[in-house]
Structures are given as structure tokens and as C-alpha cells.
Symmetry: D2
Subunit: 243 residues, 4 copies
């Protein structure tokens, strides 16, 4: 039943943006889960970049560079370059009160700040890339957070592969977080077949779609070219009917 | 700036599931918006199937055929076949109180009822297909509904292309719905460049991804084969680290 | 530390609407959890009504009586009367794919179908009542479902007390549901201090707020009277400023 | 049809936390909408405090004071005192990509950082207070944002009155934001009967519930006392049944 990878991936680049609230060198449960996907990608040759966003100065706002709007310092433009260098983007976030972290919300806002820009084909800047999400918490909310993050990614222009989310939570209520060493010597979440399967399928589906898009030179530039739309091209859309 | 479609699409099949609460022959605003995408697809040769779910008897439950669990009649298994015949699935739904319709929720539940089944490659049944969503309302909620529907589709195994949602709402509060003829003779939503652009980009991106997947014979069966996973194949996932 | 109930509650009425997909006499995990709150309420004298919605014929739509719009039968108007007879409304729902059930979505739609009606004071029909939600699943989603249901209830006119949601899910992924007898003889969820505490606090906070509202004769009819608003009363709202 | 306020409110305090991304003195559309509610409250004697969060240094984290965890500066503890001084809390937020702002997400996280603390009666710290939300955007998402914020507030211990959210968005897609002066001299959102009504009803319902809670000396301390629960008081919760 074991198969070999159907392609090479050593020309692909991935960026994992960890949106934990805990700065380095604090332990990040989200990083612990992401590391398993990162290791797999590196094993098949992918160049993987990892950023813990909270270690950087990322002011609020939806302009590309917030120093042009009063911020003293803005590390985002440099991070944005690393986003654009990557074929695969994975956002990692903890859950707080059932929602993604404020760092993750800020990352989405800053990515959105470039959503008016286009690539050489006139498509939105993020076209031709794939995205996924990794979520950790100790209570509840993996799917809700994934809904929000994956929606944002596809809205920006990322392709979302099947089962592009993976996460772990314990039984409802407070308790250990992913990667915590428990009193009985086991590690929280380490025995979850569900989490491992989702993480594996997510990782491979990101690679498969990234491979397909890279081989195709991106998404075909027809029917989705913003610059052409703005000058009147309609690509065959039918006129509205009404009652 | 005008380009030609980069491929042929006449071997593709699409299914539009309209989850309006209004049975035929009542006017469906959601259908009015979907029809514009349907027309475009048909123009390029796609075989398009359209279902208004509320015209069928679809009992609640998450088993493939609810007549085996007490329901007197269940039209879903026949509809499920039409889902599986299609390379492209588009769910259409109105917004009620900021959420998708109960018909749409039911459709997701019934699709989920087959999520344990696998294709010939051992992948989840819906793999190799692409999905999108069309939303109409008169107040607020397109993005919230799209988050929920697109999340469900990718969770089931669909690929979600960039900008796979399109919708229309008017200014906040009660008002006309998409396709309503207004007093001044215009048609609600018909002049929305935003809605038209999203609908066009959604339609073409669905076609592009469906084309790529079809040409590739589906998603490569490596790293995502449920039957192999269940017999112990791990596809290179790294062991967990912990603190 | 033990205290006595600070009031009598035997003039209060509560309705628990169970939105499970499983008809009677099938076992409902949601009912199992709701029953613990119901028992507590009955012990202090509250008259509790319980409905399993799926046992009734509730067609889709947002009109008060769908038989006036083509439905052959509509049990909702009778259920609506039981809703209006109650000072406390608790919706119970399972989680499917991270969301509330289609039965629950339908109940919200049907409640919404009466949202244009007003009480004797000219306030929305549901004013003066309190609402809560009970959620069960085996994977993830209590908070997401609660967000949606509680939002709908307050939008309709219900007061939402503190911590008006209670639920149980197991560790992420498939597994037993609330109330399932496990192999080791224990019962899934029965040992969750978190679920028990939330259920207790929810129940009492519903009673406290219902008591306060009942004693006050409802919410004061000033600043919130729809009929007065529609005839021009503005209740002191300031004019807008702008830039 | 005009009525007089049924009570005095000059002993009440309200805090409006504006979670715009724009620092002072930039124009905040959210502030423009909140100001109308603030003006009404002040007219009836309420002491209103207003904070634009982005003007303060609020580091990420879920501990009460993040300077104890490595942050150089943390203005939140001082803001938290203003939160606790208020009987009414209103969060205001813009919409970005269909969601609340990162500033708003951060405020929720910081409020949550105190959720383990209790008042003199042993109840959660926020008990006895009421909460609401004001939302502005130019596209879509008022209800989705309100769901999230109101859920967080009730989870923390706030009472959520009927229709405790108000907001404005324009027709789907980019366009003017609330309070923008338009080319024809009118002001975006200023003519929205829906927004004005919601804002008025929200404001008065916040005052009514705050009045009731203040007069009652808070929520009765029975059935909801965390310190008593932790020492074994169960308040009559029924034992679980199972199948």
C-alpha cells in the first residue's frame, strides 16, 4: 500500500507563519504541531521558512508599509517579501475564546493590505500559491478558526487544497495543550490519530496543489485578470435575469 | 487585453445545488445570481446540472440513505449520485439571520453522510473535485456564509480555488434582494461591479482548477490515502516534540 | 458556602427545543445533557416544556404559517405558541461539521418569521424573555455553535445571561458522544467538571434574569418600541457627525 | 407615543472601547457611529469613558500584566481598571475581511486574561455588567463580528440585552464607510433607519439592563459562584443519564 512521492518538490518554498502570543524563546504549542509538517516538507526537499510573528514589530493597519502612516517601525514589508517568495503559506494559531489569535488577525489584515496589487499577468498578487492552517488549543474551536483563516486565504487568492487544516484540542474545558508533557509521562496530543492524519493529508495536499500550480506556471490568466476586468473585459459573464 | 480560454471544458460537468427556502415555481434570488455563472459555463461547453433542493424530500440525518433509518422517503441518494457525477459543485444559499439556510445546512449534513467512503484510490470520495458558493441576501452575511460553506467543502475533499465565493447584499438592513425589479426600473444588484467580478473570477477559477485536476487524473494518491493510513502508512510525518 | 435560592421560580415557564437529527425514540445525546438542566429547573418549581423538533413537521420558510404558502402541513404555529408561553427558551443542538444542525437552523428561521410582530407594548414579540443554548458533539465546535445561536436569540429580542451556553465534546476527532456508555463502564462527559459548571451556571443565570424580567413586567418600554419608532419617536439618538 | 425614561441613570458608568486600527487624530468611522450612542447616554446622565485602544501600548498575551512576562510596557492593567469601573461596556470595531479587527481580538484576549478572578461574592469578575457592540465597515460582516464579540462578552460574564449590536455597511463591495462625506453632500450611513433604530434600541436596552442589575446589587450570587463550585457546591444539578 505504500507509495512513493509522485514528483519532486525541491524547487518549492513554504512559509510557516506562527501567530502564537508567546515570543521566542517561550514554548509554542502551535510551533510544536507545525514542526511535524515542516519536518516532512524538508525531508522531500522543500525550502521551509518559519516566522514567529510576535518576535517582530508589526503595527496595525491595512497599508503596505505603516511607517508611511505614522508607525515608527514596521517589519511587515520584509515579512511580506517572504510571503511572496513562498509557494505554500501555512498560518499557525492558538485558540483564545474560540477564535484565532490577535497576531493571526493582524497577519490577515497585513496580507490584505497588499490585496490591491497584481502580478505580471494582472492577477491578484497571491495567485498561484496554496494555503493551509494549523490550530492548537486546549478547549474548543479548531474548525471555527480554520473556517476564518482558510476563507481569508482563498479570498486573497490562495488555492485551498482538500483538508487544508489540522489541529488539536483536548476534551472540552481547560487542560493541557498540544505538546505538554503530562504527569504520566505521555505528551498531550501525541497519540491523536485524527490530528496526525489531518496534518499528514494537509501537508501532502499542499504539496500536490503547489506542484500542479508551479508546473502550470500559475493559474491560467483568463477570466481572473483584475487589470483586464478594470478595462472592461467581461469574460463571457451572462447578463442578469430578474423577476 | 482580451484572451481566449486556455483549454476546452466540454468534458466537465458541474452541479449547482440551490438551497433556497422557496420551492419551484417561486422566484429564487439565489438562482438568479447562479444563472449567470451557469450560462457562462454552458457557453464554454460544460454540462451543467441544476437542483433546487427544497423541491425534493431530503430528511435529516447523517446516514447515506435515511430510509434505512426510519424515513419514509429519501431523495438524497439520487442527488448524491448527481453530486458525484460532477467535477464542479456550487452551493447556492440565501442568508437568514446572518447564516446559511436550513436547506444548505441539511445539504452539508447529507454530503457529510458519505464522508467515510473512499474512491478507487482509497481517497475520500469527493477528492479530485472543486467547489464554490453563491450567496444572496438583502442585509449582511455573504462572507460569514461563504466561510462556513467553503470550509465544509474543503473538509469533505473539494479543492477551493481562489475567490470561490460570489454574492450580493444591499446596504445594511431590509431592502430588495438580488434580481428584484425596483421602482425606478433598475434591477437590484445588477449594477454591482463587485458581484459581477467575483462571480466571473469564481466561475473561471472553478474551471481552471477542475481542468487541472481532471487532466491530472485527480489529486495524486500519495499522502492522502485513507485506506493506506488506516493500515499504518504514515507518509513521512515527523514524530512530535514536546516541552 | 451553600446558599438558598434567592427567590421563587414556580411562576416561570421554560421551553427546551431539542434540535437533534434523531427522531423519538432514538437516543439523543443533546437531550441527555439538557435533561440535567431541566431536572434542576423542575426541582425549583419551573414548568418545563420539552420539544424534539424533528418529531414534528416543520417546513422551510420565513412566514409564520407555511400552509399559507404551499406547505401541506406546518406544526410550527403550534410550537411558536409554546415558545411564546415560555419565559425561558433553551435551544439544544448537536454539532455537524462544526456547525449547528439543520433542525436548529430551521428553528431559527421559523422564530425569525415572527420577528416583525410586536407585543402589547409595541416591542418585538420576544422581549422580556431569556435564552440559552446546549450543544453536544464528539469533535469540536461548541463555542462556534453557541455564538451563532445566542446571537440569533439576542437579535430576536431575548436577553442572554452570562455564560448562557453549556456543552460537551471529547478530544478532537471522532469518539463517543455525551451520554454514551463506554467500555470501562463510565459515561462519556459525565466526569466533566467544566460541562457541569457551565450547565449549572447557565441554568441559574437563566432563572435569575427571567425572575428579574418577570418582576419588572418585562423590559421597560422606552427606547425600544418598534411601533413608536415607526411613527417617528427617536428617543434622543444624536445626529451623526462626519468628516 | 413618546414616553419618558423610566428611571434615572446618572449613577451609571459606561466605557466605549474603540478598536479601530487608526490612531488619534485619524478619523475613525467606528467612533463616528459610537458617538451617537455616547451622546444619548450622556444626555441621560451616564458617565461615559471613551478609549481608542490603538493609542495605547497593549502587548499580546493572556496574563493580567504582561510586563511580568517580558513586555517592556503594558497599558492594559490601567485600561482594565476602567473596564471594571463601568457598568456598561461597548466594544466598537471595524470589519476587515469579514472579521473584527486585530485590536478588538487583542482586547478580548486581555479581558480574558482576568477571567479567572472573582468579585466579592465569588462570581466571575465581570458579573453584574452589560455589554454591547458597534460595528462599521463598507462591505459585509456586521452580524458575524457581532456574534463573535457578544459571545465573548457573555462568556466573560456580561449580560447581553436584546439587540445589543448596531452597525453600518454599504452595499456589498468597496465603497464609502460610515460618516464619510459623499460627493452629493450627504453622509454615508446617515440616512439608515435600520442603523439608527438598532443603535437606539441597543443603547436603551443596555441602560435598562444595567439599571436592573445595579438596583439588584448585581446578579444574585446563587448557582453561579465559582469559589463555591470549586469547594463542592453543586446547586442542585441533576446527575447524568445515559444510554
Amino acid at each position: 500500500m505504500t507509495t512513493s512521492p509522485p514528483a519532486r518538490y525541491d524547487d518549492l518554498r513554504a512559509l510557516f507563519l506562527n501567530c502564537t502570543l508567546t515570543p521566542t524563546p517561550g514554548f509554542s504549542h502551535t510551533q510544536a504541531l507545525m514542526d511535524r509538517s515542516i519536518g516532512l516538507m524538508r525531508d522531500v526537499g522543500v525550502t521551509v521558512d518559519v516566522v514567529r510573528v510576535v518576535d517582530h514589530v508589526v503595527p496595525p493597519g491595512v497599508q503596505p508599509d505603516m511607517t508611511a502612516h505614522g508607525a515608527e517601525r514596521d517589519d511587515w514589508p520584509a515579512l511580506q517579501q517572504r510571503v511572496l517568495d513562498a509557494d505554500v503559506l501555512v498560518l499557525g494559531t492558538p485558540i483564545w475564546l474560540g477564535d484565532k489569535s490577535s497576531e493571526c488577525t493582524r497577519v490577515v489584515e497585513r496580507l490584505y493590505g497588499y490585496s490591491g496589487e497584481t502580478n505580471d499577468a494582472g492577477q491578484y498578487l497571491y495567485y498561484g500559491r496554496v494555503g493551509g492552517v494549523v490550530v492548537t488549543g486546549n478547549e474548543d474551536g479548531v474548525k471555527h478558526v480554520a473556517m476564518s483563516v482558510l476563507y481569508s486565504l482563498q479570498h486573497l487568492g490562495y488555492v485551498v487544497p482538500p483538508q487544508a487544516d489540522a489541529g488539536w484540542i483536548g476534551e472540552v474545558g481547560p487542560g493541557p495543550s498540544y505538546g505538554d508533557r503530562l504527569d504520566d509521562g505521555t505528551v498531550a496530543g501525541a497519540d491523536s490519530d485524527f490530528t496526525e492524519r489531518n496534518l499528514t493529508f494537509m501537508t501532502w495536499n499542499l504539496l500536490h496543489l503547489a506542484r500542479m500550480l508551479k508546473d502550470a506556471g500559475g493559474l491560467p490568466a483568463h477570466g481572473n485578470v483584475r487589470t483586464a476586468w478594470d478595462t472592461g473585459t467581461r469574460y463571457g459573464l451572462h447578463n442578469p435575469e430578474y423577476r
